[in-house]
């Protein structure tokens, strides 16, 4: 509802509470997490009065979560870095001894070092970034530098979601798609997903429930969103793929699939070569032009499967002109999933979900998809130019994120979920799972990862891309990894986001090679953003025989005094989100909505009171000093005066830059147009965001919608306006599998374990397999699954121990199922030892009902090192909180005959930090407090002690005095 339109007369007597003449409001973008809501900040004397959601903003429509509302305490955190720092000469790394230096000294020192690397061996620079949202810029910077050793934290985060979607649908969960919240009638949430789209999901769940839709939550833990689910499915961790495939089994066994959708928009009718044990087995039958073939039922002949108006067979086995047996993808698919191993009775044993429930859920989604079909009556034109008078909608939608992703079978599990959606025809239709621009892209996006490097030379393509076969791997002629993190090697051939979690381990081991400099931006790899924290801290301190650190030079840019900063050789202090210019670009991780193409900016609302510079500014500055071609003018001087000018002037392709709004000389063009020097002003006038509303006829079926596909090409999202065909069956994966089987014409692995991994896990159709850690340990000893999640009020906001938020949560516990724990003699509040194959920790237990019996869990990243983040040594975060990270190794448990292999998804390299299995034993009497404990981090030079009492206010309060007659009458009317 709105507030009072007319202020009641009595209220006119009230005092003026707010000194409005001293206040200004500014629009910018929140950065308390990865959700990127629009905010309006009221500032009074360079002090924040109030941060509220921007009513008009496409992401949050005025609302804001617990994190966003706590921005003030982030801004006033005592842990903010004040100026550049250098590790004191002669002091040990990690001892916390720093000296203050000027920006000139810092940047001169860094430029000299980087220049030498760039002139000699550019791969000796590794540049990895954490919770940033500026990968378009950091990636461009690395490309211009000429090192392939760049990635953001996606490999540690949720690359499985992105990769699974992009290799099947051309869009994905994460930020690439959304449930159609306004129309969906049945919503399934798979695993913990509080990480991205924080407010949009909350807004959406309320809409769903208001509209009478059903909300099913599949999650071993019932907190957060699961709390309001109509049905909670406490599944055993790491088995979601099996649950999805069992539902596929039910749908197929009853023919509850959308055949029209499958024939028109997927590769279901394509023909697969069936010559087991021979080269070429499992590849798509193609004509001389490489076009996939189908069998036309009317012509009774092989036809180009991408043509319009063919009548392809969905099922059947045929003989190709060259005599090879072939069968349709759908034939292979149905045969696979009708197998009894996927029957609900068998899935129940694996997932811990009753067979009847699996079957019922499958029938429920089928009912909603096919019996509660909706339409949006808008004329649209399909890819072949045929007009349709409506969009058909199957109002079942799904979302999944980290809970599915962070397992070593997560890529295939996410594909299994997408398969389920596709069989029902719920992709980008009304009520279904909609794509957000610049997605969908072609399957997979046609970018290949860079391999070659040369001194003083930019890379020819970006460091990250999408391999479609072994020939795209980033390996040398002997099959050895070329990237430091071993992404795109046989360890993880489709590591589309890199493998940040392997960087420190590999650099210290010198495997595949040693490096000179590691730059980390906004990544707390010495603490919670790493596996195996304690050993990573030791590795950062490790020296070679020459007395030199194994990682010789460690540069950290962060805004706060994190555990990572403590290990830096050079600290470059960043601004807070309220003090910087920034872009949330379509070239990066955009904020589009299904109905609108959007991007946004950050514009400073406060003057920094410290000697800090935003990392964006520093990168543009360094790029000029190092004379990167894209940043250097014809006169050999830096081309851009700073980040602002870089953003408005730089073009990726003619007319396409970081910001899509108000392009063209006068700002009259959207999406594409020449640079506009006044673009920032336009964004400022428009509330710091740009929203291009898609015409109604382009809002659905974008993958096959001519008008949309042409728009996407014009806007530079896709290289062509050809339709996007969903690949239920992935030929790219099959090529890798053939390489494992020794049947590929191209690079093939030589080590047995690689052959085995490719053969077993690179199934062209989604599969379930037991997570890899579990395959190598004694499950009778490590009986529990151990998972973690961030609390909703802190997800992705972990770059400050916020004085308000920590009052809500400052100690994490190990949560156990009550009856299971009591049977083990473990009471609420008890201290226990938790042991994995990698180590042990001592933690305090809380018992609850809402957790699957074989699962224990905790809130992640609450545990902190005392002294970091402005916290006292005895803060609960340090004294009683803990990290589960100590238990998780970045390597799989050793196995005889196998080399060290990353504890990751074998396909994408996604860190498998939810695969953890543990053993729990009560601590001895008197054993209390969390263990291991760490030294207290020393204060930085010039840092003031954290205040004990905080009394933030932007102005003196105006008290409302009770009138004397009210006192005398005691309020009697």
């Amino acid at each position: 509802m709105a507030g009072f339109e007319k202020i009641p007369d009595f209220a006119k007597e009230l005092p003026q509470f707010e000194p409005r003449d001293k206040q200004q409001t500014h629009f910018t973008t929140c950065y308390m997490c990865a959700c990127r809501c629009g905010i309006e900040v009221t500032v009074e004397d360079n002090k924040v009065r109030f941060i509220r959601g921007n009513r008009n903003h496409p992401v949050n429509r005025g609302v804001m979560c617990g994190k966003g509302n706590a921005g003030i305490m982030k801004q006033y955190s005592p842990a903010k870095l004040k100026g550049p720092l250098r590790r004191k000469p002669g002091s040990e790394r990690g001892s916390g001894e720093f000296e203050e230096i000027s920006w000139d000294e810092a940047l001169n020192e860094l430029t000299a070092r980087l220049q030498k690397i760039r002139e000699t061996d550019p791969k000796k620079l590794a540049f990895f970034t954490g919770r940033d949202q500026m990968q378009a810029l950091t990636g461009l910077w690395a490309t211009q530098f000429g090192t392939i050793n760049w990635a953001a934290h996606g490999g540690f985060c949720s690359v499985n979601m992105a990769a699974a979607g992009l290799y099947m649908l051309g869009h994905a969960f994460w930020e690439f798609g959304d449930p159609d919240w306004d129309r969906t009638k049945y919503f399934m949430l798979w695993g913990v997903a509080e990480d991205h789209a924080s407010n949009p999901i909350k807004i959406g769940l309320e809409k769903l429930k208001r509209n009478g839709g059903k909300f099913v939550a599949i999650n071993p833990v019932r907190t957060g969103y699961q709390a309001i689910a109509d049905e909670w499915v406490p599944i055993r961790p790491g088995t979601d793929g099996m649950l999805a495939l069992s539902m596929v089994h039910v749908l197929l066994s009853r023919e509850l699939v959308d055949f029209d959708f499958l024939i028109r928009y997927t590769n279901a009718p394509w023909l697969v070569v069936n010559t087991q044990g021979q080269k070429g087995d499992g590849l798509i039958l193609r004509d001389e032009n490489g076009k996939p073939l189908a069998w036309d039922l009317e012509k009774e002949a092989f036809v180009d499967a991408t043509q319009a108006e063919i009548k392809p067979a969905t099922f059947g086995e045929y003989t190709a002109p060259d005599g090879r047996p072939v069968r349709t993808v759908m034939t292979v698919l149905v045969e696979k999933y009708l197998d009894e191993q996927y029957a609900p009775e068998n899935a129940a044993k694996i997932c811990g979900v009753p067979a009847e429930q699996i079957e019922r859920m499958a029938l429920e989604i089928a009912h909603v998809a096919f019996k509660e079909t909706i339409t949006v009556d808008v004329e649209w034109t399909d890819w072949a130019g045929r007009k349709h008078d409506k969009f058909i909608g199957r109002p079942v939608s799904m979302h999944a994120m980290r809970g599915i992703s962070a397992h070593s079978n997560g890529f295939q599990a996410a594909r299994a979920i997408h398969l389920l959606q596709t069989l029902l025809g719920t992709i980008d239709c009304p009520g279904g799972f909609r794509a957000k621009a610049p997605y969908p892209k072609h399957v997979p996006p046609p970018i290949k990862p860079a391999r070659e490097m040369a001194p003083n030379t930019p890379l020819k393509s970006p460091p990250l891309g999408f391999p479609t076969g072994p020939e795209d791997l980033v390996i040398d002629a002997d099959g050895n990894p070329l990237r430091l993190d071993k992404a795109y090697s046989w360890d993880a051939p489709v590591a589309a986001h890199g493998m940040m979690h392997m960087v420190i381990t590999n650099a210290v081991k010198g495997d595949p090679y040693p490096i000179d400099t590691l730059i980390l931006f906004m990544a707390n790899m010495a603490w919670n953003s790493t596996m195996n924290t304690k050993s990573v801290q030791e590795m950062l301190r490790e020296k070679g025989d020459d007395g030199e650190y194994k990682i010789p030079y460690l540069v950290v840019s962060d805004a706060f005094h994190s555990e990572m900063v403590n290990f830096a050789d050079l600290v470059l202090p960043d601004t807070t989100y309220l003090e910087r210019y920034d872009t949330i670009s379509l070239l990066d991780r955009p904020i589009s909505e299904p109905d609108a193409i959007c991007d946004s900016v950050r514009i400073p609302v406060l003057e920094p009171d410290r000697d800090v510079r935003s990392w964006q500014e520093v990168m543009v500055d360094l790029a000029g000093r190092l004379k990167f071609p894209a940043f250097t003018g014809e006169d050999g001087q830096p081309k851009f005066s700073g980040y602002k000018e870089f953003i408005t002037q730089w073009e990726k392709a003619p007319g396409i830059g970081f910001l899509a709004g108000w392009r063209g000389k006068d700002g009259e063009k959207s999406l594409r147009g020449e640079p506009n020097p006044n673009q920032w002003e336009k964004y400022k006038e428009n509330g710091a965001f740009f929203e291009y509303h898609l015409p109604e006829s382009t809002r659905f079926y974008k993958f096959a919608n001519k008008e949309y596909l042409e728009l996407a090409k014009e806007a530079g999202f896709n290289g062509s306006s050809e339709p996007i065909i969903f690949e239920l069956y992935s030929e790219a994966l099959q090529k890798f599998r053939l390489a494992g089987q020794g049947l590929y014409d191209g690079p093939m692995p030589t080590r047995e374990e690689d052959k085995e991994r490719l053969t077993n896990w690179f199934d062209p159709l989604p599969i379930f397999y037991v997570p890899l850690e579990e395959q190598r340990i004694d499950t009778d000893k490590y009986t529990f699954h151990a998972v973690n999640q961030r609390p909703m009020l802190m997800y992705h906001s972990w770059d400050s121990q916020n004085a308000w938020l920590r009052q809500i949560l400052a100690q994490n516990f190990l949560y156990m199922n009550r009856s299971r724990a009591l049977k083990m003699g473990i009471e609420d509040g008890a201290w226990v030892w938790v042991e994995s194959h990698n180590g042990k920790i001592r933690v305090q237990v809380k018992l609850m009902e809402g957790v699957q019996e074989d699962t224990v869990w905790t809130w992640n990243a609450i545990g902190k090192q005392g002294g970091a983040w402005g916290l006292s040594a005895d803060a609960p975060e340090a004294a009683r909180g803990f990290l589960m990270n100590h238990l998780i190794s970045e390597l799989l448990p050793p196995k005889e005959g196998s080399r060290d292999i990353t504890n990751s998804d074998p396909i994408t390299g996604q860190a498998a930090w939810y695969d953890l299995r543990v053993k729990i034993t009560p601590a001895a009497p008197g054993e209390t407090g969390s263990w291991p404990q760490f030294d207290t981090v020393k204060p930085l030079p010039g840092a003031k002690p954290s205040p004990s009492e905080v009394r933030h206010q932007s102005h003196e309060a105006v008290n409302l005095v009770r009138p004397i007659d009210d006192v005398l009458s005691r309020g009697a009317k």
């Binding site: 509802m1 509302n69 907190t223 957060g224 406490p234 009853r254 028109r264 009902e849 954290s946 905080v950």
Partner: protein, 231 residues
């Protein structure tokens, strides 16, 4: 007028948005600042007008998790006002908002003992009692756009679980929601007639599957017939 809140327990996911928005607005509001003590130390604590209590109902696997935001109920017959020895606590006749006059409060804590809802918080720095003001410093502010003349907690709630309005007006959102969704007051047996109402979870939706459950068909592939569909 009888101003108050309706809180929808069917959709509250426990994000603490309302609690922190309240803290944020009110620390610079009419009874601010809302002091925080030991802010970076061993026992962080502070003054909050709105807190989310979370608990579980039922036993595994039939358990439910409930997030329950609690703030001042602005009772019609407020015990905190009755017991106040200095006359600092009062219920406004015009709109029913219960307030504490900071100039008159001596921090004796009587009101906090009297309130069964735990809505009152003593500010250790000012030595005075503080509580939800229903954002009286926002809702009547003509300089704010109409849609923002609402309590900070209501404006911010991502799940739109919070509604503000006049319970004396039967056509207001809060009256209508209370009527339609069987809104209830917390602990009415105490007799303080709380103004705020909570909406219970909606009936679970059941999905009829009789029209798709063509039981037991396990025909294998060979029986499947190709349909002729033009691509």
């Amino acid at each position: 007028m009888k101003l108050g809140l309706v809180i929808d327990l069917d959709v509250c996911v426990g994000c603490h948005g309302c609690a922190v928005a309240c803290k944020q607005w009110n620390t610079s509001g009419t009874t601010g600042p809302l002091t925080d003590t030991d802010a970076y130390g061993a026992e962080p604590s502070g003054v909050w007008f709105n807190r989310i209590r979370s608990y579980e109902v039922g036993d595994y696997p039939h358990n439910k998790t409930v997030h329950f935001p609690m703030s001042c109920m602005h009772c019609e017959d407020a015990a905190c006002v009755t017991v106040c020895p200095t006359g600092a606590s009062w219920k406004r006749q015009e709109d029913g908002i219960v307030l504490v006059d900071q100039d008159k409060c001596m921090g004796c804590n009587l009101c906090s003992w009297a309130c069964p809802y735990g809505a009152r918080e003593l500010d250790p720095a000012s030595g005075t009692m503080k509580k939800c003001t229903l954002c009286i410093d926002r809702i009547y502010d003509e300089r704010l756009p109409v849609e923002e003349r609402q309590p900070a907690c209501v404006l911010t709630c991502p799940a739109h679980a919070r509604h503000f309005g006049d319970f004396d007006d039967p056509e207001s959102d809060v009256s209508r929601l209370t009527r339609e969704r069987s809104g209830y007051a917390l602990m009415p047996e105490m007799g303080y007639k709380p103004t705020n109402k909570y909406l219970p979870p909606r009936q679970k939706r059941t999905v009829d599957t009789s029209d798709v459950a063509r039981g037991g068909v396990r025909d294998k592939l060979k029986a499947w017939v190709n349909r002729v569909v033009a691509r």
